[in-house]
Subunit: 361 residues, 2 copies
Amino acid sequence: MAVIDAVAEAVRASIGRGELPSIELPVRGLENVSYDAAEGYLELGDAIKLRTLTVNTVRSFAQTLRLMAASREMVQHDDFATKREAYYISKNWGDCRFDEQAESDAIMDDIEALASLHGLSREQLRFYPESHGGSVAGQLVVLDTDPVSGTHLEIDCANLGSGAYSIPRSVERLQFRTNAAFVLAIETGGMFQRLNNHRFWKNANCILVEMGGVPTRATRRFIRRLSDNCNLPVYCFVDCDPYGFANIYRTLKVGSGNAAHINRFFCVPRAQYLGVTPKDITEFGLEDATHPLSKTDIKRAQDALKNDPFFASTPAWIAAIEQLLNMGVRAEQQALAKWGLNYVIDEYLPRKLAHKESFLP
Amino acid sequence: MAVIDAVAEAVRASIGRGELPSIELPVRGLENVSYDAAEGYLELGDAIKLRTLTVNTVRSFAQTLRLMAASREMVQHDDFATKREAYYISKNWGDCRFDEQAESDAIMDDIEALASLHGLSREQLRFYPESHGGSVAGQLVVLDTDPVSGTHLEIDCANLGSGAYSIPRSVERLQFRTNAAFVLAIETGGMFQRLNNHRFWKNANCILVEMGGVPTRATRRFIRRLSDNCNLPVYCFVDCDPYGFANIYRTLKVGSGNAAHINRFFCVPRAQYLGVTPKDITEFGLEDATHPLSKTDIKRAQDALKNDPFFASTPAWIAAIEQLLNMGVRAEQQALAKWGLNYVIDEYLPRKLAHKESFLP
């Protein structure tokens, strides 16, 4: 709230001095992004754009201020809005109503980038994502409060049967209690259900998180906070293909290039890539359960090598991606079922976990 | 298991008699589907196709039997496989391995259709869907057992804080305890989070289910069993557009046309359409928060009127869809935010629930 008040104060002061008020916003986009291995995420540079009040910008200037005012009110009343709701709220703003959600999204991204410079995420401004959080099961007690009564609640993720804990859209208020040794972040829902139904997390002493493809903001932030607060490494178990490497794992570990202003909150620096690795395809005899790389796969892999600051600066990944391109095939997590449905539990994961030095960084 | 054994026995007997063995499978597809208002779902007709062992069918014949054998084994060992895993299992079947998942899916659909004649769903054959179940919060205790130890577990969906209960891929083993008056099935995750965070379910005495678009098999089956076992009506709260009517609500209530063999397990006959209705757009002053119907919207609405046996046989729906086409606009759930973020909780839902006779059938 202090951030919002400070911006509003600066605008008011300019007007008081008879100057045209303006708001300083960070430049978003790849030209203002770099990867710092020490920091562990794709980060926003120092480039700034000025939104000054002129005839041409009067509408977006007013919209920026009104959206910030809405955020301030939600903080005061402990409420929230999805991006879609934020768009509809504006329908009562008269001339400065948004005509398209793309407009309100762009301005929200600006505000988010501004707030990120002050260590605040969009969720803390009370704009929540629409998309679903993943599911969680295993050796973890989530500590939460009832949003209305404030009563303390404990959710034991080891006691949800064949079901799981569904991550809420904002995880900032959650705390954790666990003796687990690591977090296992899983790409597919089917694999998550298998490991959960067989209580893999009990013997392996871990926490299972279902990402369901590229993890959503809520899932990424949940894993990050869990890793930070409980000092846990995060092992990533996804398909062996360029999408698994460059979209799922890369997003989880260092964030995404076109949303660099949020990566500092959402990256998971302690993430490591357990598998499936290109080497696993031969070591676990999956050759006849592979599929040829598609053109899109090959392009994605080449892009990762050439244009992605994370992969380009990580020799082990360069070697792995080149190996995959040479093999010309991809392998899914489920391919392990070739050796029996529970080969993944009885053989694959124990062997991998016994050799953590073989994980990709 | 008795069904599988009976088919296997019949095949063996034919061979013993020196005849070519064959398996009787129901014809799937729209030409063998009808809507019976009394039954309340799109149901499979009596058409049968014979899969007889010949030179041309030897592979699919063998695959059908092997997949049924795999199902039998999973029932015996209390295990399961996703469709994708079932495809990979075949990689060790030598000549009758599946080359594409489309092959194994088609044969699984045949087996499922066969089993459905005996009152069995695919989940009971232990083939689970890959896709995520929805989330649940509110006045409900889910009774489950630990899949490994068999310990009895109670999951109180009123005590999950801002999080929720994530529905597992198979819900057959679940039981329920509740005093709720109804189930509210919600289209969007954002709306679910709003109603959950504000504990709407407490005052309204209900159970919230997040569908997240068209509900998955697990979500549909969960709602159906909840409605059956606890004698609860189900109110559906979705966007006012042809997709909300014809894809989301129709699928929940009566099932889908190209999967008629499963509708008897997955339809929710007690589902009613709470809103947003075309009438709500004027009654709740949402005119300036609407969007014009797209060409796809219009085509989908016309298709529903012309080709969909459920809508075509329901006068109230014909009137509603024609009204929407005349208005030429659609309105989302979130459009209610125009009157304030919690207008939906303070005004819209209470007014609608006070006039259940205005729900669409």
